[in-house]
Every structure is written in structure tokens, then in C-alpha cells.
């Protein structure tokens, strides 16, 4: 029967062209949507890498006219002590502007044994940065006071960069090059990935450098971890205190939790729009399939009557029509899969292969379900055709 049906639909391929095209286009759209959803989902289920609750960022503009490093350091040490003196502040770290959920990026490249990797997120932070954000150290160590006086420039890398650069080999102790090998950095630790661009996007490759005292002239962020009892009243008090301490500065306090929500919305809203548009498309496709199958049945009443006369039961007629639709869908899926497989093969958009493979399988399952759904009722109607009437009409 399978061969018979295949022969039938193959010989009618011109009449079936519309159906085949409709399924092919739907398959490609569904594949694109599923690729996006799977990509987001696989990122979403990975840990954040930080504890963002009760972490606040304080943005300030440097009001000091001096460029003297010692003066600046003294001034900001005073700011640090003032903030840390507050009982609600548990940890504090100065940082450049590209901290998690800030939508700010600073990237560079690294080379190791002739292998060049870029872009890599470049985070400039202080010794307590990992405590503020609750980052997890996987191997080696975090920065400490010794790094300030040491001659070697040290760097802590994230897990993704470690994997990309060293694979399963040990990274701690390795020396990597930067700026066309003009600089060298020694890897002292590996930390867990931090999804800095939101829950739905990958952490990407990243490394952490220790801020030196010269940076106080241009950095403008303080990250603090506050205690659970730090409320709006405390935030107001903190703002006033900072306004007095860093006079003539533009101050803004933001909660990382809110920033995370906002960053996630930047992904979720386009995703919802995309799903909605795809949903409408699917409804149209479903109605189109329904119409095409209905039309096919009305055109094939004589054939259906004949098959009934020759020994087909009502259910086998219904099964035949559903099978034909599934076989047509299979032809479209084969063509569609050929195009879809080019994405992982050509590493389009630098997305992991697993995303495309899962999306491909989901798209195939979805199209088959859609076709079954759309052909069941026309199939049932075909089964109900009275053979004597159908044969007489012909």
C-alpha cells in the first residue's frame, strides 16, 4: 500500500505542488521559530552564575578635576569606607560599566599557542567583585591583595573561555597573549559562566582583570551586596549619603534584579512577537491544508467510491487520505531538512549544533502533527462518502 500511495502522489506531483510548497514554507518558518526557542530555552536552563538578588549598582560621574592617581585613590577609598560602614552593605566592589545586565560590553581578543579567540568580554573589577555577585570559582583562585604588588599581570577566565581556549586541559598557570602578543597575562583562576546579557542569552567568553588605582579616574560603577532588610528607606538614605560624599556627581542606584527583568524583556518581547506571527501563519497554513484536502476529496469522490467497491473499508479510505498527506509532508520535510541542516553544517550565527538538531526534530514532529490534525476530519468525511452515490456521480 505504501508503494501504491507513493506512486499515486508522485504521479500527481504537479497537482500537489501547492500542498508541498505550503508545507515546505511552514516547515522553514517553524524551524526558525523553534531554533530561536530552543536556543533561548537551553540558555535559560543554565545557571545564572551570579546571585543578583539584593545587589545594587551605583552609577556616578566623577566630579574630581584632578588626574592625580593617589588623590583619586584616597578619595574613592573614603567613598568605599563610607558605604561599607553602613550595616546593610555586606560587600562592595568598584567596577567598569559592563557589569551583568548593564547592556554594556567591552571586548577584546586573546591568543594562546597561536590560536586567537575573539570577541571576549573584558570585565575590570576589584578583589571583592566575586563576593558581591556570589560568583563560583571552579579552579585556581580569585584576585587578592598580592596581585596588587605582584609584577605579573593576572587574569581570571570564565568556563566558556577556558573550554574554547584550553579544552579539557588545565588552564590555571597558562600564559595567554593579548593585543597581538604585546601583553601577556597569566591565568590564575576559572569561574563559572555568568549570563550577563540575561537569562536567555549565552554567557559567552569572558575574563576578569583587576582594576588598578589609575582606573579611578574613569570608572563610574560601584556594586554593593546589601542585606535582606535593605529597603527603599535605606536606599534613600544611601543616595543622600553618597550625594554628600561624592558631591556634584550624577548618582543613580539600580537593582540588579530589576535590570535582569528589563534585560530579559528585551529578549522575551521580540520572542512573543515572533511566536504570535508564526502562530498566525500556522493557523493560515492549517486552514489552507484543510481547504486543499477538502478540495482533493471532492475531486476524488469517484476514486473513493471505486476503492470502497473494490474492498476498502471506510476507515481504510480515511487512513489512505491521512497517509497521503503525511507522505506529501515527508517530501516537503526532506527538502526542508536539507536546507535546515545547512545551518549547523555552516555554523550559521555561531549557534550550537544541538540547538538546530533539536529544533529540526521538533519542527518535523510539529509538521506531522499539524498535517494529521488537518487531514483527520477530511479523511473522516471521505470515509463517509456513499460508494453507490460517488460512483454514480462520476
Amino acid at each position: 500500500m505504501f508503494k501504491h500511495l507513493f506512486k499515486l502522489i508522485w504521479n500527481k506531483r504537479k497537482q500537489n505542488f501547492l500542498f508541498l510548497s505550503e508545507i515546505l514554507v511552514s516547515f522553514m518558518v517553524i524551524f526558525a521559530v523553534f531554533s530561536l526557542l530552543v536556543f533561548y530555552y537551553l540558555n535559560y536552563i543554565k545557571p545564572n552564575g551570579i546571585e543578583y538578588e539584593k545587589v545594587w549598582s551605583i552609577q556616578y560621574s566623577n566630579p574630581l578635576k584632578t588626574s592625580n592617581v593617589d588623590s583619586l585613590e584616597t578619595f574613592y577609598e573614603n567613598v568605599r569606607r563610607t558605604i561599607k560602614a553602613l550595616p546593610q552593605v555586606q560587600e562592595l566592589s568598584f567596577s567598569v560599566s559592563n557589569y551583568p545586565y548593564s547592556n554594556s560590553h567591552s571586548t577584546t581578543g586573546f591568543t594562546y599557542k597561536g590560536k586567537e579567540l575573539s570577541p571576549i568580554d573584558n570585565y575590570m573589577i576589584e578583589d571583592d567583585y566575586h563576593k558581591v555577585l556570589g560568583m563560583r570559582l571552579l579552579s585556581g583562585r580569585w584576585f587578592n591583595k598580592e596581585d596588587k604588588i605582584g609584577k605579573k599581570r593576572n587574569v581570571v577566565i570564565n568556563s566558556t573561555l577556558k573550554q574554547a581556549m584550553f579544552g579539557d586541559a588545565e588552564a590555571v598557570g597558562a600564559v595567554v597573549g593579548a593585543d597581538n602578543e604585546k601583553e601577556t597575562w597569566k591565568v590564575i583562576g576559572v569561574v563559572a559562566d555568568v549570563k550577563a546579557s540575561g537569562d536567555f542569552l549565552p554567557a559567552g567568553k569572558g575574563f576578569y582583570k583587576r582594576l588598578d588605582s589609575g582606573a579611578f579616574g574613569w570608572i563610574g560603577t560601584i556594586l554593593i551586596k546589601v542585606s535582606p532588610d535593605a529597603d527603599a528607606a535605606f536606599e534613600s538614605r544611601l543616595h543622600k549619603l553618597l550625594a554628600r560624599t561624592i558631591q556634584n556627581s550624577n548618582l543613580e542606584i539600580q537593582h540588579l534584579e530589576d535590570m535582569r527583568d528589563s534585560t530579559n524583556e528585551d529578549t522575551i518581547i521580540p520572542m512573543i512577537i515572533c511566536i504570535t506571527v508564526a502562530g498566525f501563519l500556522i493557523i493560515n497554513v492549517a486552514l489552507g491544508l484543510f481547504g486543499v484536502l477538502w478540495y482533493n476529496i471532492s475531486q476524488r469522490r469517484g476514486e473513493i467510491g471505486l476503492r470502497r467497491a473494490l474492498g476498502a473499508t471506510g476507515s481504510s479510505v480515511s487512513f489512505q487520505l491521512v497517509s497521503e498527506s503525511l507522505m506529501l509532508a515527508t517530501l516537503s520535510i526532506i527538502v526542508g531538512s536539507f536546507f535546515a541542516l545547512q545551518f549547523p553544517l555552516l555554523n550559521v550565527f555561531n549557534v550550537p549544533t544541538a540547538v538546530y538538531i533539536i529544533a529540526l526534530l521538533l519542527s518535523i514532529a510539529f509538521i506531522y502533527l499539524l498535517v494529521i490534525f488537518c487531514s483527520l476530519y477530511p479523511g473522516k468525511q471521505a470515509a463517509a462518502i456513499h460508494p453507490a452515490i460517488a460512483l454514480h456521480e462520476e
Partner: protein, 221 residues
């Protein structure tokens, strides 16, 4: 072989009730070649459809090959049609998108058997109707007479005991019609197949063993 007892067929709509068959009783012996004649609308095709289990009588009972099929389920009826009956239609009812051989194989698809067996039986049936050289053709590439021969091959491929032919020569010229009639007579004579044929053609009807005439749904001869 076929026993119809007091068959009635009434078509009902909301406003009209039409009596298509009015109390027909008929016994058709095994190996008999029977023709049914009558003016248009007298119920010939309806009677043939009832014998072919394509339509249900409103009243009466049907026995075919010693089986009372009155209470058969859809599945049982389909199996019975497939194994015991062969159909030939005036307008051939071939599937134009399938080659001749595939058209002839159709009844065998609804019973157990390998593709090779199906192919062999279909080739044999086509040889019987003299169309061995047309197996790869599509129906649209054949003449009317050739198409009807394909339909006959399809009717006999499953080796049924009964063939029901609804005006098999109706769309053909007399020469072609005679050719088809000769094939049917040979099938009846050589294979012992029981044939019931509806026709408008007196000449064709007189070639059969027995003629039944209908008028307004009743048997008049």
C-alpha cells in the same frame, strides 16, 4: 449464487419519497450470465448496487454465495466485495494517475499478498483481456475499448465468483462493445464466473443466458 427476496429500495428526502425498487425477488444461479434491461430510471443500477453491496435495500434480504449479508458490518461487507465480487462500470472508473498495471492491482491491495504476487496476477489478468502490451500506459493514453478491458482485468484480477457490470458497453461503439461482450462471455464460459449485466442494448442482452426486464422498479419479465 445470488438470492434476492422481496427487495425494496426507497429514497427519502424531506418532502419526497421515491420507490426505486418495488418488491423484486430474483434467483441467479452459479455460472449464469444474466442481463437486466429497462428504461432509464427504472431501478436497474440501484438493483445492481444492492447486489454489489454498495447500497442497502430498505426492505428484503440478500443472500450471496450462501451467505446472508443483511447484517454484515462495514468491514465484513468490504471484505466480501473484495473477495467475491468484481465490478465493471460504464465510465470505467480507472484512476488516471496510475498506470494500467497499478489500476488492475487495486483490488489486491485490500487483501493479503506480496507485491510480486499482485504484479503476477495483474499481468495475468491483463493478458486475459489482451492488454499485455499496455501495462505501462496511463488510462488517458488508451481508447475507450481498451479502458473497459482494463476495467475488466481489474474486475477479474481477484478471481471473484460474481461480476457485476453496469452498462459495460454503454460508452463504446458496436465493434468495441462486441469485443467487450466476447470477453465477458468467455469469462462466463471458461471460468464459470456468474455475471449480472445491466444494459440498454437488446443485442447484448440477447447474448446472455437470461434477461430480466424492469419497469418503474418492478420486474416485468
Amino acid at each position: 449464487m445470488i438470492r434476492l427476496q422481496n427487495i425494496e429500495k426507497v429514497y427519502r428526502t424531506d418532502t419526497v419519497e421515491t420507490l426505486a425498487i418495488n418488491g423484486i425477488s430474483l434467483d441467479i444461479a452459479k455460472g449464469e450470465f444474466l442481463s437486466i434491461m429497462g428504461p432509464s430510471g427504472c431501478g436497474k443500477s440501484t438493483l445492481l448496487n444492492i447486489m454489489g453491496l454498495l447500497d442497502e435495500p430498505s426492505k428484503g434480504s440478500i443472500k450471496i454465495a450462501d451467505q446472508d449479508i443483511t447484517r454484515f458490518s462495514d468491514q465484513q461487507l468490504a471484505k466480501f466485495r473484495n473477495q467475491k465480487l468484481g465490478f465493471i462500470f460504464q465510465s470505467y472508473h480507472l484512476i488516471n494517475d496510475l498506470q494500467v498495471l497499478d489500476n488492475v492491482e487495486l483490488p489486491l491491495l485490500y487483501r493479503a499478498g506480496s507485491a510480486k504476487e499482485r504484479r503476477e496476477l495483474a499481468t495475468e489478468a491483463l493478458a486475459k483481456v489482451g492488454l499485455s502490451n499496455r501495462i505501462k500506459h496511463f488510462p488517458t493514453q488508451l481508447s475507450g475499448g481498451q479502458r473497459q478491458r482494463v476495467a475488466i482485468a481489474r474486475a477479474i484480477v481477484g478471481r471473484p465468483q460474481i461480476i457485476l457490470a453496469d452498462e459495460p458497453t454503454g460508452n463504446l461503439d458496436s465493434a468495441m462493445g462486441n469485443e467487450i461482450m466476447d470477453i465477458l462471455i468467455n469469462l462466463n464460459k471458461n471460468d464459470g464466473t456468474t455475471i449480472v449485466m445491466v444494459t440498454h442494448d437488446e443485442n447484448m442482452a440477447h447474448k446472455t443466458h437470461r434477461l430480466v426486464r424492469l419497469f418503474d422498479g418492478s420486474q416485468v419479465q
